[in-house]
Amino acid sequence: MAKVEQKGTLSKSDLREFFREMLLIRRFEEKVEERFRAGELPGFLHVAIGQEAVAVGVCRALVEGDIIASTHRAHGHTLAKGTTPNELMAELYGKLEGCSHGYGGSMHLYDIERGNIGANAVVGGGLPAIVGAALTFKLRCYPRVGVAFFGDGATNIGTFHEALNLAQLWQVPAVFVCENNHWAESTPSWQHMPIEDISQRAVAYGMKAVKVDGQDVEAVYKATRRALEHARGGKGPVFLAVNTYRLVGHYIGDPQVYRSKQELEETRATQDPIEHLRTKLELSGDEVEEIDREVQEIVDASVEFAKNGTDPKPEDALKNVYA
């Protein structure tokens, strides 16, 4: 994916590019759902449908050398950080061509070359590593930033607290992107978090906090750019409180008994970031269709690629345990 030139204002063509990428992620994840339901994909899968603007807005703001750590809901982050749909899909099919060579799976997507130090299936598990990576950037005077993605539910875990505290204490160049989708699995925010404004978490560390509408990719992009500037400039880490919505189940197959159909439908109708951007860009039906056809082809090709990929040999399981 071509990098948009780093700049404060985005041209219409930049935003079109964002649109294309968000739609690609959406179609990719829809395909993943479809293939999972068809019984082709093993494991445990979480899609981020509704949260595409966060992945794209954040990752487009990054520059070469910046790194991310992701979560169980990692497809969007991974694609936005530059892993090709082919490599990602191959991973989900458990192939050697996958971005983790078939060892990781959906919850453990890595792409070290492209700056993805790993999706993590332990909530909060990847945050401390981002602090340590950012510390390294600081010690070596690299102008790089470490970015951690995590959810609202993750702000309840001790790892989150310790990691943010340490990041602020050591003034490392890190940005903590909290994707507040108001749910932790089946548990609504009010039932897992004693505060309404999640940016208040940062007060405990004296950390700069920025709130942003996560359904507006331009807003996410701009807020991230400012946060990165702050962190890269040696002014310390930033907590990015992103308000967003998960428009599907927690995992593929989740019957969502914990929320009403009506609530879900309302949210879907009003909070689709792709719809928002389409409206903003005043894209015509034809234009959308064309982009859609293009990304669908990429997604279809990725399935082809993955299916034609190489299965690991059983004994390969004993490789890569040690360096």
Partner: protein, 326 residues
Amino acid sequence: MPELSYREAVRDALSRAMRDDEDVFIMGEDIAEMGGSMGVTQGLVDEFGPERVRNTPISEMALAGAAIGAAMQGMRPVAEIMYEDFLTLAAEQIVNQAAKHRYMSGGQVTVPVTFRTQGGAGWSPGAQHAQQLESWFVHIPGLKVVFPSTPTDARGLLWSSIYDDNPVVFFEHRTLYGIKEEVGDELEPIPLGQARTHRQGEDVTVIATGRLVHEALAAAKEAEEEGISVEVVDPRTLLPLDEDALISSVKKTNRCVVAHEAVVRGGFGAEVAAVVQYGAFDWLDAPIERVGAKFSPLPFAPVMEDFVVPHANDVLEAIHRTVSRT
């Protein structure tokens, strides 16, 4: 006689205990409306309400610790740790607090808490969602460790765990939730610390836990067709361990295979092997064989995962190795 799945058996023990006793309550992530990630607690919030079926935030340390604190005040909480892998987060509370309060206080307090958790491979969740860590807790004085392999055992042992005045770490195996069995109308508590002999045999004893009990039984059936008579014993409670049952079985068969899904190195099978070689030394005709996961984290790709974790044929091969020793 009702038929219950392993999942329903666990649920049945929980709901009976809650019905009988106000002191019993359950807590954990997503255990209410969603019924837990494995559906074990489904429906319980409807009967008992959200005060006794408490959804917690993602806070393994605090949820384990709050259960401990409630237990010290006389409650009998059952705390669910969603995946065994996350026991690594609750370990401080379980090991340094729950296991030791009674001792450090010189006997002033009891900590009747039960930590339910589940794990196990076979569905490709990757390296952080299917570890088997029961052997860690067997090393901790003050804890009891239970690992049932059948619906009957799950129900009877969970009941006993809840009513035990000591902290219990109760392991369930993810791939067993669906297996079914007829159980009595009445819940029969099963005392902690008693092994169960699933199958009598003469030539070799297989000591197995969790999913591997079923693999061992399948292997035993195949072996029988080959004329090898296999005894299958499930300790069920790993701590305290029913050493006598294991040793006397091996004294009868003179050969022993230990099988679990956990990694062999440092696994519970090591402890069993050490106990059996000590207690049945003069009776053993062959070295004790250990069957367990190969030495790697759990890989994602099904062909690799399948290779890493043990199956009936691994048990059978171990049986062959041991009987072929002269």
